[in-house]
Symmetry: C3
Amino acid sequence: MDPRHFLTSLDWSSAELRDLAVTALRYKAGGHGRIHGGPDFAGQLLGLLFFNPSVRTRVSCEAAMAKLGGSAAALAAGSDTWNFEERDGVVMDGATQEHVRELAPVLSGLCAAVGIRRAEKMSGGASADAAGAPWEELRKDAFLHAFARHATVPVVNLESNAFHPCQGLADMATLLELRGEPRGERYVLSWAWHPKALPVATPHSQLLAAADLGMRVTLLRPEGYDLCPEVMGAAQERAEAAGGGLEVTSDREAALSGAKIVCAKSWGRLDAYGRAPEDACPEDGLRDEWIVDGAAMARTDDAHFMHCLPIRRNVIATDEVLDSERCAVAQQATNRLWSAAAILARLLG
Amino acid sequence: MDPRHFLTSLDWSSAELRDLAVTALRYKAGGHGRIHGGPDFAGQLLGLLFFNPSVRTRVSCEAAMAKLGGSAAALAAGSDTWNFEERDGVVMDGATQEHVRELAPVLSGLCAAVGIRRAEKMSGGASADAAGAPWEELRKDAFLHAFARHATVPVVNLESNAFHPCQGLADMATLLELRGEPRGERYVLSWAWHPKALPVATPHSQLLAAADLGMRVTLLRPEGYDLCPEVMGAAQERAEAAGGGLEVTSDREAALSGAKIVCAKSWGRLDAYGRAPEDACPEDGLRDEWIVDGAAMARTDDAHFMHCLPIRRNVIATDEVLDSERCAVAQQATNRLWSAAAILARLLG
Amino acid sequence: MDPRHFLTSLDWSSAELRDLAVTALRYKAGGHGRIHGGPDFAGQLLGLLFFNPSVRTRVSCEAAMAKLGGSAAALAAGSDTWNFEERDGVVMDGATQEHVRELAPVLSGLCAAVGIRRAEKMSGGASADAAGAPWEELRKDAFLHAFARHATVPVVNLESNAFHPCQGLADMATLLELRGEPRGERYVLSWAWHPKALPVATPHSQLLAAADLGMRVTLLRPEGYDLCPEVMGAAQERAEAAGGGLEVTSDREAALSGAKIVCAKSWGRLDAYGRAPEDACPEDGLRDEWIVDGAAMARTDDAHFMHCLPIRRNVIATDEVLDSERCAVAQQATNRLWSAAAILARLLG
């Protein structure tokens, strides 16, 4: 029997995801030390494979395992490990030394579950093979899906090119905390300028989280900065099925008016994937207009401010916003721990 | 009283090693979570010192400690740590900052046991001192043995220049699983071509494992690719004492005929140690002849295929072999966990 | 309510520190495995943020958590993580990606406590911002204090520019072990030559440890190698209040005579901070005179030899001294574990 994985929230129903978020908040309410009312993972090891740096993700996963009585081992792919191959039929006499067809069963034999963070940089990839790959290629998340296909234990996506579902679930838990029942309330995912072109995985999963809760979601971005059409289509369908909706606009004033949540995030143009860094950067002219500052927040309905972190202060949002009472960014990060615990409990429990 | 170490299987009797392998399989049979019927390592830390990258070794050690109730801490020597000195009497005003005469007692005071992976590259060493060292020098495993001499807790060799006894024990457990009682059965350690010259530690320990089980062991390799004579001598003695034997040949057809196990592995010529990479590589002409493919396996007596991993697909062995029912490579890797647990239980229990 | 931190021993009274050292020794007496009579940290994670390499510090912290039933996660800042910003009001469009105003609350949400090692190199800093900073700037330990200010859980200084209080506490425990009640006994902190200019954090904390125990402390160093005047003033005050005293001299013969403890350590001149490496090195002419050898130890009152490690053999001290019965360096390092446990138990218990 194949294990169930957590690769994208799209593989899970809105109701299942809400259940996970509720479980996360129940765990959180239990206080310090071991989680009560959850499974006991004594003797179980979570393997963590990081192709990209991480603070929140790694520490939240290690803390979640500790709170469930288990252990975690984090490997930095490339420095701690070999280079991995995911293409079938390749003659491996080049740069890659281990195939996912071996790696996945091996880690399945050693670990109770495996978390993987592998996202290529938008401009210039993390591995030689992926360098310069366009979005249509990278969105396949070839390594992650090949690993999951050959794994016999649950696999958790800790951020791929296309999705960051752990962040999405933490945001969902945070929205439930902040708003009680957010169904039908206005949620704005607001693009912001950043000196480098950033990937779209996180905004994808954040948008889906609000949609799954049935919020009235607005994607607020400059022309040319649309997210992936397939993800937008799924978000709209799920938002509407859950009692909300989805719209896309570049009209900041209209979008912010009445918003209960402003979630800021920068990302690059989809057609910037695979370009040289200097060609991929968001245009400088967008910087001042798109920062989230006090004036922007003043247009909302006393909205809470969200961001996945790390955030460049006074670039994405101002000190005024980040230091205000309505800023929920640390709360989101804390909920990464409880969400990870809920996911692991569900997959392994 | 000096602690007992696990530096090479040659320090342990064939009977002791078989006992460890049997213990490993008993632990494995106990299923998920904590190991039942083993010691409780609560509050005990296994220190892991890696001079070389690792996937299986590190994760299997961390998982073994978790399953015995303990913890592990892995250090990447060189990046996480200082540079270490093992030569006595040196005036340390150069590149090394800490002597093993301090390091070993210190880690002995902080850890219940210490695992060390330190293998120089065959051509161009991992540390400046070792670069270009010949086999006669590297086989001494100077750092490992100096560390063990000054340690007051058990030391486990996680792969040195000369031996990889944890892999050997995992292979022994796998052979018992695959064959029940393998005594007198035919085991072939089959050399394969690889683009770089690889060390001999793993084939040494694999050959010894089959010998300790009393198998009829064949070292199948091209002329010039002999293993270390002292290891071969010990393997022959132990094989014969256990009811088996050892032979060396370059005749693939004869060697594979009747084999119950084919274990593939590449290694460089002993006289390639210390040479420039381009001089050390196995000859290209050997590539096609020595790959393990379906035709090679068809000559055997329905043999299982083994390899220590990582393996370059379609270089060492073909997809056909690795994806077949008789392929045991993931099983070997899984047994790394249970073997490590058996070793640690024996040394610390 | 703000948590109490362990950033410098100067924030703690001499009596409190002695209590911690006594607790450390009580834990040590309990033997292997879990600590008895201490708190239970099951489900609690210690976050460790290393900007500099570490052996003793990291392993002692991980072992301490394991012995108290908890877990630890070590991050290598810079490779595992983003670059951090601690200055308020900065427009973060440069090299730093995450502000301590986010990082500290986030890690506070994920961890029960956070340990931080961040010391700039004396000549050429670890981060671009700090490169070449003078002592007056570096002694502020801006990142550490900003982190503590914004953290909601206890923060432990694992070595900053100014202090290494965990080493100080381990030394205090060792002095109690070696001498029973060391009050009024002679303790010499003896400067030694080293090929590179080393920071003053460790000698600061070591000197303070002896002072807090009421020892008669002698700082023995060549002219020009004084420690920070503010630290020396505090050390004198605390030493005198506890029944001891403090003097500074460059007269080795007089200083070593009657000493019960010789603690060797190299450090650079305070005015070497921020200089180019070649300008910052201690003068070669000092090398032979200041090494701690058998002749130096023979002048003492059968003193024990201490050093924080790592130590360059036959540069700081000779083999004869390090291999003698009176050498306590491994004992000091072992006490890092029990001291860390006492600190964590006090802060979190």
